[in-house]
Symmetry: C2
Subunit: 144 residues, 2 copies
């Protein structure tokens, strides 16, 4: 699948900010986070912007500015992050409209819509079971 890495990068950034704050720091800069992720700071700002709109992080501007968590990592789940950074549905429908004169062509989209809906709901429930605190714990538990 044309899988993208947005959920991964967003989780990485949140875990980084969370750990940084545990160490007593107020705010993290997009440049610091980009260093850990190994990408460009603008990529981080774009993603964190999505997370801010979803109420997961806050940003300060001006000198000594940066990003901080808006809520505890324990109250944030991968579903919150997923919904913040992934706009579309999991499975796409046809690019062009199927032949509506054909029984299958006219019925396939309603049929799949119902089926896909149920599957995505299960995926959401599963994502909602994982908190970002759990992610950070797993990160810290990984052998070096």
């Amino acid at each position: 699948m044309s899988a993208n890495s947005r959920l991964t990068i967003a989780a990485h950034a949140l875990a980084w900010i969370g750990l940084y704050q545990r160490q007593g720091h107020e705010v993290a800069t997009s440049e610091q986070i980009a260093g850990s992720v190994n990408t460009n700071p603008v990529v981080i700002r774009r993603l964190l912007g999505d997370l801010r709109r979803a109420g997961l992080v806050e940003s300060r501007r001006g000198a000594g500015a940066g990003w901080s968590l808006a809520r505890e990592l324990g109250s944030m789940t991968l579903l919150d992050v997923y919904e913040a950074v992934e706009p579309g549905p999991l499975f796409a429908m046809h690019r062009a409209r199927p032949d509506q004169e054909c029984v299958v062509g006219s019925g396939i989209q309603p049929a799949l819509r119902g089926i896909y809906e149920g599957i995505e709901e299960t995926l959401r429930r599963e994502l909602a079971r994982v908190t970002l605190e759990k992610v950070l714990d797993d990160v810290l538990a990984a052998p070096r």
Copy 2:
């Protein structure tokens, strides 16, 4: 997400062949299926080629050739189709290697790998619950 439509098109094609065979026909051509899907026959042949390699359909060449089901629709699930047409994992890791000097950078991939694995397994179980026969039934039940 860079959601693609392969699962959708493959399910459409299988439902079409299944219905066509129910109507007493032996084989369906990629051109007929492409007509219902509203795309190019080569796109259909490519996808059906994947399904053939997975043992879901068979093809005959020569004159009067075409495609037929290798198994009953009732014994085929969306998981079979998904595995046949979707190579990669659901969520991608970082494009570039994270900073291994950083605790988060070095631990994030192992952590997410474990978490993603469980989530994908749940998705698979859910896909496995839907047979292609159910898809066709839903297609035929859709109001015109």
